[in-house]
Amino acid sequence: MSQTIEHARRTVLEHGQSLPEADIVELLSIPDEQLPEALQLAHEVRMRWCGPDVEVEGIASIATGGCPEDCHFCSQSGLFSSPVRSVRLDIPTLVEAARQTAASGATEFCIVAALRGPDEKMMSQLRAGIAAIRAEVEINIAASLGILTPAQVDELIDMGVHRYNHNLETARSFFGNVVTTHTWEERWDTLSLVRASVMEVCCGGILGMGETIEQRAEFAVQLAELDPHEVPLNFLNPRPGTPLADQPPLSAADALRAIAAFRLAMPRTILRLAGGRELTLGDLGTRDGLLGGINAIIVGNYLTTLGRPAVTDIELLGELKMPIKALSATL
């Protein structure tokens, strides 16, 4: 067993402590032949500190495109010549999206809007949409609406939103390479507001945007400091028309190294495999991820791109004997 992994075993598996930054850098740099060992350790950590349940989630965009921000990975920015047109989801279609999610077996539904932060009109639409979902579909509701005010945090709680997603996206030292219309600190401020409320914090990011191994480790440590309930791990899917359109996708081995490293940085969090996994990991990679520290997945389609059918992932969970986290366990 390698020294790096043996040290991680003592620190994280036995004591439940986060792996320090220098060790995460080492783990992100291990040779391919040590990767199965690292994934096995990450799986043991997940089973010991989180258990066998897998949280399954579906997502839908209530407001697509036309965003005033310039997140370089995003096809929904109105500042790039992306093929994605601005469109809004009406309430019956939003309810249909929640119904599709629940029918897949998922217990979590996240409503997402591409904007800097919600205005009064958006909050009003959201209130009506969430009320309609709660009247017809039994599912936990999360939201992702950008930068919030304290009053909006209270409003979302009043609507019944139990978890709020706001990704830091990448390491603080790399953020300026990816977004220039707002700061990492502005995102942190919204996360602090959510953290101080009764809502759960969901915060992750996108790997493979050109950050170094050291910055990837820095990001893992910054997330560990935030201590979110959930960390969605996305892998860049380079979108036409965006500044990152020509960025090569992360290799499957690097993505799996990152999964193991982020699990060892955050032994108790819900670590979710999110967008870009089909491109980066393929079908076998989803299995490797679930056996390498992942304990949550987004199933079905994403916001502007398609995923593999939800039933394929649900069948995989059955094959791996990993139960879907029950609705009652999170209400």
Binding site: R85, S86, L279, G300, L306, P309
Partner: protein, 72 residues
């Protein structure tokens, strides 16, 4: 056969294409498995597209609405 446009990038597909292609090259062909159409194949206009967990809906102002075919 009338002119058609690639549903992914909006570029014209070679005229006289009779094989039913809705993409312009192998890059767009490969990407289409994980992307909804973005351009109308009949007029090349950018469409309004909504992606839901199980399906997608696309609307062209000239040629109307389409939905994805349900998976088996």
């Amino acid at each position: 056969m009338s002119k058609q446009w690639c549903e992914r990038c909006g570029k014209p597909i070679a005229e006289n294409s009779e094989d039913g292609h809705t993409y312009c090259d192998h890059g767009c062909e490969a990407a289409q498995a994980l992307e909804p159409p973005r351009y109308c194949r009949w007029c090349g206009r950018r469409m309004k597209v909504q992606v839901l967990p199980d399906d997608w809906r696309a609307h062209c102002v000239e040629h109307g609405s389409r939905k994805s075919v349900p998976s088996a």
